[in-house]
């Protein structure tokens, strides 16, 4: 290894203090595309979850920053487009890849991440979590290399383990009704490798206010 590579690595270690400067309260707000880019994130939830809504929030952030996001999911149960439009998303510039199984979803993600053109790649895996480790390793590496956020949406409770140890950040989303058609969607961090938060640790929280879909407003 050349001396300059050694020097670069030393520089990265010195920069590591940046990541430890945690802002655990929500006013620090680490749930931001700029902070999450380059990471493999799993967003999960069960009955009262709001995973699609929080994914839409990140897509909107990307679009507001004039970046392109892509959605990869299954043909049988995609998101409902009028709700995405009501969340402030430009549907025409949100490419959606509709496939049949988790492996195909992962292969498509590989092709899209490799291009470096997408700031956010959403994999809507649902309840099926059979993503091979080798594929996850490749996808996590590509996300880091291209500074893209790889966001996997899964349907599981917080007690069920993450997709794998490669997941850099695992969060659970819960939805709480506030009355008058308003809902608070809260992202509770379960695991954050960069901030040293584990299952026993106190994870930070991020909250957003949403209105209900048509009929619930």
């Amino acid at each position: 290894m050349s001396p300059s590579m050694n020097l670069a690595r030393k520089y990265d270690l010195q920069r590591g203090t940046d990541y430890l400067r945690a802002t655990p309260d929500s006013e620090g707000d680490p749930w931001d595309l700029a902070v999450l880019q380059g990471r493999f994130v799993e967003l999960s939830g069960r009955s009262e979850c709001a995973t699609l809504s929080m994914a839409a929030s990140l897509i909107r952030q990307a679009q507001l920053q004039r970046e392109v996001a892509v959605w990869i999911g299954t043909r049988e149960a995609p998101f409902y487009p009028p709700d995405m439009a009501a969340s402030g998303i430009d549907l025409e510039q949100l490419p959606v890849v509709l496939l049949s199984c988790a492996k195909a979803i992962a292969r498509a993600a590989d092709l899209l991440l490799r291009s470096g053109a997408f700031a956010l790649v959403v994999l809507d895996l649902g309840a099926r979590v059979d993503l091979p480790i080798a594929m996850q390793t490749r996808l996590a590496g590509l996300a880091k290399q291209e500074s893209a956020l790889l966001l996997c949406l899964t349907e599981k409770s917080r007690k069920v383990p993450s997709l794998s140890s490669l997941v850099s950040l695992r969060a659970e989303v819960q939805r709480r009704p506030l009355g008058e058609g308003r809902y608070s969607c809260e992202v509770q961090i379960i695991k954050d490798k960069r901030r040293g938060v584990g299952l026993r640790g106190m994870g930070w929280k991020h909250s957003e206010l949403h209105c209900g879909p048509a009929g619930l407003r």
Partner: protein, 504 residues
Amino acid sequence: MDRLACVDLPFLPLQILLRREQSWRSCPAAVVESDAPQAFILSVNRIARRLGVLPGMRYAAALGLARELRAAVVSASEIEQCVQEVVGELRNFSPGVEPSEDEPGVFWIDARGLDRLIPSYEEWGRSIQERLQQQDLLATVVVGFSHFGTYAAARFQESGASASSRRGRLQVFGESQDEFTQVQKTPLAQLRIDPATRDTFAKLGVKTVADLLSLPAAGVRQRFGEDLGLLLKLARRSQDIPFAGQKPCLPLRRELLFDDGIDRVDHLLQAVEQELLPLLEQLEESGQVLASLTLDLLFERSEAIQELIRMAEPTLEAGRILGLVFLRFEGLKLAEGVIEMGVEVQGVRATQRQGELFEVRPARSLSAGNRALARVQARFGNGSVVHAVLHDGHLPEATFRWQSCSRIEIPEPPSVRLPSLVRRCYTPALVLAPRARHEPDGWLLGGAEAGSVTRFVGPYILAGGWWARALHREYYYAETSKGAIYWVYYDRSRRRWFLQGVVS
């Protein structure tokens, strides 16, 4: 003559870096242009300079001279934030503050009419320096009569002194002639002149402002351009730039009176939302983004409560702001009803990263994205890469269709007051098992884990098509005890329940 002060924060990016990393003050430290080993060094502190590290070197080369060299990038948004912070501090000394557009770290303060309010300009200048020192910033203050004169005097150093030894100075010119005399001694190397022009001047033996003033103005303008022509005019005092203070971002406030008092947190939140959205629109119109929100809650008997919510990054996104308000109110215990509430928003100027006006971010290639989508389409078949197109339809499945996505462009998302929750839509809708006549555990729509249905919202009836195939669907939202919300409908013609989707 009108008085003016120039406040110069030398090497502002380096000062910001050392303020951020206090432990680096005793180490060699540098600001680099990017986070890479071959990045150029932009400025260095004294310790690094003594070890031979100079601006213009590459970081990797500098590490060879100073093994303990610490370096980091200081972003444009950090610099802008610091500039606005300094403007805020300087406004305590005069309402007119003008930050330099070309050189962050240089400010002019309008000192007209202050001679009757302040004991002396020396004390005034010293107070400015002390105030900035409390923010860990070092500044040189020069009180004079013109933009250029005070700026050149702030930049002036005795010959032989190194740039890094430039400490905060205070200088007050009693007469404009004194200012002019000082300006003439200023070396051109200490002013912001194009390096190539400066080198040309050096070859011609033009090294100070006095040498520059001896040149014919028309010739300078013709050979070196209008910018240098203007500089010559300013140096000759034949022209000064009119003071253009930055308008302060005044807070916007709304007051609400509640006749019956509000003692429920969710009602308070609704009231905040109602007042906040128009305030955000006002901020947007004036080119600002929200930096902080102050909520004042007044009671009849109890003590008033003030909550200050600061945004990590200024924004106009109502959903995020209200999310923070909700988290703050969550732990609030109201002993009695709120009779009056004040909502005050403080904005800051939108930088290029904030608000709705974004410049194109570099680095991502749309054509590479289009090629990747084409590869996915080729791999998985036509119809695998689509985008949604909305239609005016009654049935949920008729309100949109998937259309082949041939190419992508820069997105232009619409603005929304509050984002909506998104439903997952099953196509086709899933047939549910018939409901038993008796349901001792309630209707377990999503299984035992999701809990039994506790509430129905609806019906929303969609009926028609009598001329072809009659259709009658009664849509409901079924909420369960565990908080799940299912989107279901009862099809009268088929006498079956269907699961159209779920709110997620």
